[in-house]
């Protein structure tokens, strides 16, 4: 009903009375064209065409061309003349205008002296007193009928024109409103769609008229938190435009690369295919992701600066984290669509997985930091003090560094102990090693204070701990290596705690907190060597006990006594008073046992004199052809002298 209702806006133009128009037209034609007979349709059309084609500036152009023909001096003279003319005209116009102004001012000064005075010329003020001129309405002389008719028709024409204009304006305004309404509807529909997706839509704080959508993270650092609000503006045809202000348009992301000996061997996935990038939803998502990534890089950079003492270096747009001696992790902020496969890369899927894992971890750790911020923010604040609480750096790189460091240390220790085990096994010595990696990461204690997710991440911020334990050949002797890496609290880095339980050498304990791998290797080797030495002497005792007789063995074997345990030296004296020495040498690669015969030096209770000659040598290496075991060797050495 409302649509069908049409209000005629244009004035209805009445048809003129036909009869009197023709004579009038003829009269007009006669006046305009001279004779009616010379008028033809073709001639009129030509005339119209010519009018259309005629250049507006043609006359001036003609004048220009004429001027160009004149020589310079004439032109200059003419220029001055024209200039003088222009000035004269201008002056005249000015004079007339001021006369008119003076006249009107004087006339007005009768009724409105204060205001009129301001526009009066000083001469007039002195010449004529204010209000000395008055105006009055006089009866105009009666106009002739024809003039009245003219005025009537002219005013009728004006009125018609005005009505037309008004109608045009109204119709234009109507159509403009139509498009406006359509655009506005589209805009609000899109805003509603955004709101229904769960985004927070609110009024902009500084711009009360505009709507904004909040996609940022409330717990982020203030500069990033405040950037998480973009205006939703109406663009062309009511399309929603996300106005992010001065932020770079490009979507960016943090890229993680693994570098090994100056070669990039792994790169994390940064590029996410931008599916239907035109929808507002995806643009908001992209803005949010970029904001998150920028904050992530900002925080990584901030943390990297305090980690200079641990070898972390920063460039303008790069953070370099050393993990082990040859491996480094590079973090940088790159555009999503940048070509990641740069030259000289040998990317392996394994290292890609590592890089991906790191890139996921840093994001999880940042969100964890956000949660911690929320927790801190909603606690009772401490009393206001002149010193503000400093915002601590988030823990993003440190847990990752600690984890990777810890892992590389575990790997090293595992290979070392594996090597050692192979050496021992090749010599027929049975031993048992057990490793508990990351024993600190165990079962989560149930807690109602911290949510499970936060507790899970919290575990990775605590110091990492792994233990290796092994039992040795001699009964009841064992050793344990505890590896501990602390990401946050000093002392940073990885430390080894070795404890040994050797019944034969109760006083021997290694130094606590060893930092260097070489020292750890030495200590462990030393313990195993001590154990082997004592097991050789113990074996003798056992066999002696088994034979039943004290003193010299019934079997005629030598009794080895541990003489210098820390040098791996054993001594034995045979029935003839001849001393023999056995030296055990253990390293990561091999186990060597040598026996010497010693010449007793007179006057010394112990045979410390130089060895005379090597009697027997045996070396065990893993991977070599099977050889008699250590036990066989000892038996042989014991019997060789007999």
């Amino acid at each position: 009903m409302a649509e069908s209702f049409k209000l005629p806006l244009r004035p209805i133009i009445e048809k003129r009375d036909r009869p009197d128009s023709l004579p009038r037209d003829i009269a007009q034609i006669n006046a305009q064209w001279g004779s009616f007979r010379e008028l033809s349709e073709a001639g009129l059309r030509e005339k119209i065409e010519a009018d259309k084609r005629k250049d507006q500036w043609a006359e001036e152009d003609e004048a220009d061309t004429r001027a160009a023909e004149l020589d310079d001096s004439d032109r200059k003279e003419q220029l001055y003349k024209r200039r003088a003319e222009i000035i004269q005209y201008a002056l005249q116009a000015h004079m007339e205008a001021s006369f008119a102004l003076d006249f009107v001012s004087l006339l007005l000064s009768k009724h409105n002296p204060r205001q009129a005075e301001t526009s009066m010329s000083p001469f007039l003020k002195t010449a004529a007193p204010l209000g000395s001129l008055n105006a009055d309405v006089v009866n105009p002389p009666p106009r002739p009928d024809s003039a009245l008719r003219d005025i009537k028709s002219v005013s009728r024409g004006w009125r018609l024109q005005s009505f037309n204009n008004a109608a045009n304006k109204l119709l234009n305004a109507g159509s403009r409103l139509d498009t406006e309404v359509a655009a506005e509807t589209g805009y609000w529909n899109e805003v509603l769609a955004v709101k229904e997706k769960g985004w927070k839509v609110c009024r902009l704080p500084r711009e009360g008229q505009a709507l904004g959508v909040q996609y940022g993270f409330l717990e982020a650092t203030p500069i990033f938190r405040d950037r998480g609000l973009a205006a939703l503006r109406r663009g062309e045809e009511g399309r929603l435009v996300l106005d992010k202000g001065l932020i770079p348009r490009k979507a960016q992301g943090v890229r993680v690369r693994v570098k090994c000996r100056d070669r990039i061997i792994g790169c994390s996935e940064v590029c996410r295919p931008a599916q239907d990038a035109e929808t507002i939803e995806s643009r908001i998502l992209q803005a949010r992701d970029t904001l998150f990534e920028e904050e992530l890089f900002h925080e990584v950079m901030r943390e990297a600066r305090i980690l200079g003492s641990q070898g972390v270096t920063t460039r303008q747009n790069l953070v370099c984290v050393p993990v082990s001696e040859e491996q480094e992790i590079l973090l940088d902020l790159v555009d999503w669509d940048q070509d990641h496969a740069s030259a000289g890369t040998a990317i392996s899927s394994e290292h890609n997985a590592l890089a991906d894992a790191i890139s996921h971890s840093i994001r999880i750790l940042l969100t964890y930091a956000h949660r911690q911020n929320l927790r801190r923010r909603t606690q009772y604040p401490p009393p206001l003090a002149p010193k503000r609480r400093p915002v601590p750096e988030y823990q993003i790189l440190r847990p990752i560094m600690a984890y990777l460091q810890h892992k590389s240390h575990i790997q090293w220790l595992e290979t070392f102990i594996g090597d050692l085990r192979r050496v021992l096994e090749s010599a027929g010595i049975g031993c048992d090693f057990k490793a508990t990696d990351f024993s600190s990461i165990g079962v989560l204690p149930p807690s109602h204070v911290v949510s499970k997710v936060e507790a899970l991440v919290g575990v990775f911020l605590a110091p990492f701990e792994s233990t290796f334990s092994g039992t040795l050949t001699t009964p009841q002797s064992s050793f344990q290596v505890r590896i501990r890496t602390s990401p946050v609290v000093p002392p940073f880095g990885t430390f080894y705690d070795i404890s040994a339980h050797l019944p034969q050498f109760p006083d021997v304990q290694p130094p606590s907190r060893i930092g260097l791998q070489e020292e750890v290797a030495e200590a462990v080797t030393h313990f195993v060597m001590l154990d082997i030495a004592s097991s050789i002497s113990l074996r003798n005792t056992q066999s002696r006990d088994a034979s039943g007789g004290p003193g010299q063995q019934a079997t005629g074997q030598l009794a080895w006594e541990v003489a210098y345990p820390h040098h791996g030296e054993l001594l034995a004296v045979d029935s003839g008073g001849q001393s023999k020495k056995m030296k055990v040498n253990l390293s990561r690669e091999e186990l060597t046992v040598e026996t010497y015969s010693l010449i007793r030096a007179d006057g010394f209770p112990n045979p410390v004199a130089a060895r005379s000659s090597t009697l027997l040598t045996q070396t065990w290496k893993p991977g070599s052809e099977p050889q008699p075991s250590l036990a066989d060797f000892v038996t042989r050495a014991s019997q060789a002298s007999a």
Partner: protein, 268 residues
């Protein structure tokens, strides 16, 4: 420590709406709080105050002045606050759902949930608000200390405080930067004639608690604590923060300072 406070009264019909508005303003969920508040009054133990005798030479003149001031100065009411939870109240289920056969056993089980002996306590001292200086804001000296758990009357008595009465405060806490916003109301215990002379060891049913303000209205309290009350700049910053909050909440509630004498904690 100093405390700057503004108060507003909130009618009960506005309570829910205000909670939502505050949650939006502070960007956090309200933290519900229930507190037992015990009122203690200081009294002078006859014959105990004797500063002249027995002072060693090591007590300097200024110390004696301070000691005198502390011992002979004004006497104050203090509050002892203990956080509780709704589960601590003796919850009797509606009779329709309760087991009619074993009402006693149910009561016992529910009644035992509150353990008075492990109730943590905190001593809160509030001075009378400062006069005149900041007439648009309530500023007062505060101090708090953690007290031993459980029976509190004995140690308080030893310090010269006697138990007066107790009530419960129920409300929600919001944190807005440095400002603690506490929207709360005072609940009274159901009265059975004689008011007990010591804190209750059992709590009645929560539904039996009646609000002190009969209409069920709430008090909105916005407080900010300052470490050092003599630091004028800090006090100014703190009051500006509070005024900022007052401006933000202007269209919802009218935060204003309280009448000084109504917050008088001096014991006469």
């Amino acid at each position: 420590m100093h405390e700057l406070v503004l108060f507003a009264s909130v009618p009960s019909h506005q309570h829910h709406e205000l909670l939502q508005q505050l949650a939006g303003l502070t960007a956090m969920q309200p933290r519900h709080r229930l507190e037992r508040r015990l009122i203690f009054k200081a009294y002078r133990r006859p014959g105990l105050i004797n500063t002249r005798g027995g002072t060693g030479r090591d007590v300097q003149g200024a110390d004696i002045v301070r000691l005198n001031k502390m011992l002979n100065g004004g006497m104050f009411y203090t509050q002892v606050i203990g956080p509780i939870s709704e589960a601590d109240f003796h919850n009797t289920k509606p009779s329709s759902s309760a087991d009619p056969d074993h009402p006693m056993s149910h009561d016992e089980a529910a009644g035992n949930s509150y353990d008075y002996d492990s109730q943590p306590w905190k001593l809160e001292f509030r001075d009378i608000p400062e006069a005149g200086t900041r007439s648009t804001i309530t500023a007062r000296l505060t101090a708090s200390a953690t007290l031993p758990r459980g029976d509190i009357v004995t140690p308080m008595d030893a310090w010269g405080y006697s138990f007066v009465t107790e009530y419960v405060v129920e409300g929600d806490v919001f944190i807005h930067n440095d400002i603690v916003i506490f929207l709360h109301r005072v609940l009274q215990y159901p009265s059975h004639g004689q008011e007990p002379h010591e804190p209750r060891r059992q709590l009645p049913s929560f539904r039996d608690m009646s609000p002190l303000e009969r209409t069920g209205g709430y008090i909105l309290q916005a407080a900010i604590t300052v470490q050092d009350g003599s630091n004028q700049e800090l006090m100014r910053t703190a009051s500006q923060h509070l005024f900022g909050l007052r401006e933000q909440l202007k269209s919802v509630v009218r935060l204003e300072h309280a009448d000084r004498l109504s917050l008088d904690t001096r014991a006469k």
